[in-house]
Subunit: 362 residues, 2 copies
């Protein structure tokens, strides 16, 4: 049995538990998780249809069919021609199914077209069904995440040796990308270099701002290595930190470390968020920590579990997620420290291990 046959078997069992008659997955990582094949996010629909009691069929544009590698006969492939109506074909595959789980990232256009064909059919998001499988990583998956983390850790150390001042954010960002690709990543997902006041925008897009002495610079980047994601954030300071930075950074480091320490099987996702948040609130920076503590990571950069207030999900061994508190002072500076950690039987393994202090660069 291949991994894919196993995973399809597991998802069918989960479907039976939830009275789901059919599962459809399209763009995003659910599809490669189940089949090894990733669909292009295009107007030509790709959809894997898994009936609860039948053979899975991968419906793909005919011109993409040569790219599909069916491992161990885990599913059939139907390549549709340019003048075919693939929605009609998928509707036929769903014949008899009343409850259909639909992959989260599937284009709404295709779901609405399927609904129009059969208004009696009930579609629900496949989020929880798929998360139940994907949220606990296998040792091989953790190995892939560990390798991806090592690559970005090395890039952080390299960047600590280069000059930042006088360069645009975009230029520094390009260097981060090049070094990460050279380090073994196939593609990048994001490449934040946010300097000075731009650091206060957590997802700032690197632009034309020229980095200068006295800037704090948030460097948050990640991509794909052997199909699994990296994601780390470290702080760089040009010559000297800005006013107020050191005091806040001490709080941030302590909060990040305490949250990592708090991770073990049996605690809730929300409780880990609270550990970091409480420390930051007590130190008076609570209003400036404007996002959740972290997110799961695997074949997607963001996936379950989410470490956020209100999420009572219980942490289990094999879960992998980020711990990334931040403090953001509008118009002034921002800071964030981010590690990916894997939950073990009795605690955590840190996948990112580069120095968490801020790095002073020229």
């Amino acid at each position: 049995m291949s991994d894919f046959s196993d995973r399809i078997g597991n998802v069918k069992a989960a479907m039976a538990d939830r009275n789901v008659d059919a599962l459809c997955v399209s763009v995003g990582s659910d599809l490669p998780y189940l089949t090894g094949y990733r669909a292009m996010p295009l107007e030509r629909v790709t959809m894997l249809v898994i009936p609860s009691n039948g053979r899975p069929v991968l419906v793909v544009p005919g011109l993409e069919a040569p790219r599909v590698d069916v491992v161990d006969g885990a599913f059939d492939v139907y390549g549709w021609a340019e003048s075919d109506d693939p929605i009609a074909y998928i509707d036929q595959l769903l014949h008899g199914a009343t409850s259909v789980a639909m992959g989260d990232e599937t284009w709404s256009r295709f779901v609405l077209q399927l609904q129009e064909r059969n208004t009696a059919r009930d579609f629900t998001p496949a989020s929880e069904l798929m998360a139940a499988l994907r949220i606990r990583k296998s040792p091989l998956e953790i190995e892939a995440l560990r390798n991806a983390a090592h690559t970005v850790d090395a890039v952080v150390d390299e960047m600590a040796q280069v000059r930042f001042s006088g360069r645009t954010e975009r230029d520094v960002s390009r260097e981060v990308i090049d070094r990460t690709i050279a380090g073994g990543h196939e593609t990048m997902d994001f490449w934040i270099v946010a300097s000075g006041p731009n650091g206060a925008s957590p997802h700032h897009e690197p632009g034309d701002r020229v980095i200068e002495s006295g800037d704090a610079v948030v460097v948050d980047f990640g991509g794909y290595q052997n199909g699994y994601c990296s994601d780390t954030t470290r702080m760089f300071v040009v010559d000297r930190p800005p006013h107020g930075f050191d005091d806040a950074f001490e709080v941030l480091q302590a909060a990040q470390a305490a949250a990592v320490e708090a991770v073990r099987p049996g605690v809730t996702a929300a409780s880990i968020d609270a550990v970091a948040r409480d420390l930051i609130v007590e130190a008076g920076y609570g209003e400036l920590f404007i996002h959740r503590l972290g997110h799961g990571i695997g074949m997607d950069t963001h996936e379950h579990p989410y470490l956020v207030e209100g999420n009572d999900l219980v942490i289990e061994p094999g879960m992998v997620f980020s711990i990334e508190p931040g403090i953001y002072v509008p118009d002034d500076w921002g800071m964030r420290i981010e590690d990916i950690i894997a939950v073990t039987d009795d605690g955590v393994e840190r996948l990112n291990r580069s120095d968490r202090s801020y790095r002073v660069v020229s």
Copy 2:
């Protein structure tokens, strides 16, 4: 009035014509077309809600709100906090709307969640509504597409001077990427280098195959420059073409040229596909031309109009699309020639102008 105010005004007029009470757009290019803001494709929902008779509201994750630049007060912004329920808020914004058009690429999860809140509301894909606006490009949009085309044309000419043999597809592909970024593109969208038998798979992913003497190599790449897309395909041949290549290439060039010649306002999209296809069929290669002739291009690499059998859409000035016939011999080789053209008042402007002959490289 900004472009965005104008465009929102135009889409409201189109909504009135179609009895659409509200339009929702999320990830993809509809959102930046209407607002200048592009949403990250993440689990945190971003959605612009345009009621037919009220102010548009852009619902964004709070931590993304600093990235939104509201030009000329064209819309309001609502930043939701991590523990809020943004779907509930969007549902409130849709209060009173029974017919809602939903952006094509919106994650199905969010549409299904909105449907669950109000089962009486009717959601339809926004495809045609948005295409009616986006399909005819303004002179400024065509200028952006022309500039993007010039960049990739220059890269094609540069690649004609480099060695292909002895290098992996991935390595050559990386050079194409680097040169295109150096030429002025902000990001890449795709970077096909398909050598020898891999060329028979139209969307082949560049891999470890080492290119050798006698290979035909399909190079098809594009990306984004100032928010608009490039997309061109040229053929490279290492030392000498494979058996049967020259005869087929002559047919392909003639078919591509005839299709470009056939473009003018008033003809149908399908008729242009037929011009190229008929020539290829007559020459005996019909079974090997396995995809449509072309696709519109603008802020997306693939958008309306699609040049495909059965599409009776009438071509109008301002439309911009690819003309890209291909011939694919399984296990042997593939070939494709692709130009982007803009429809003028009485014919076409070719945006790609690099030599369409195959380039002999070492």
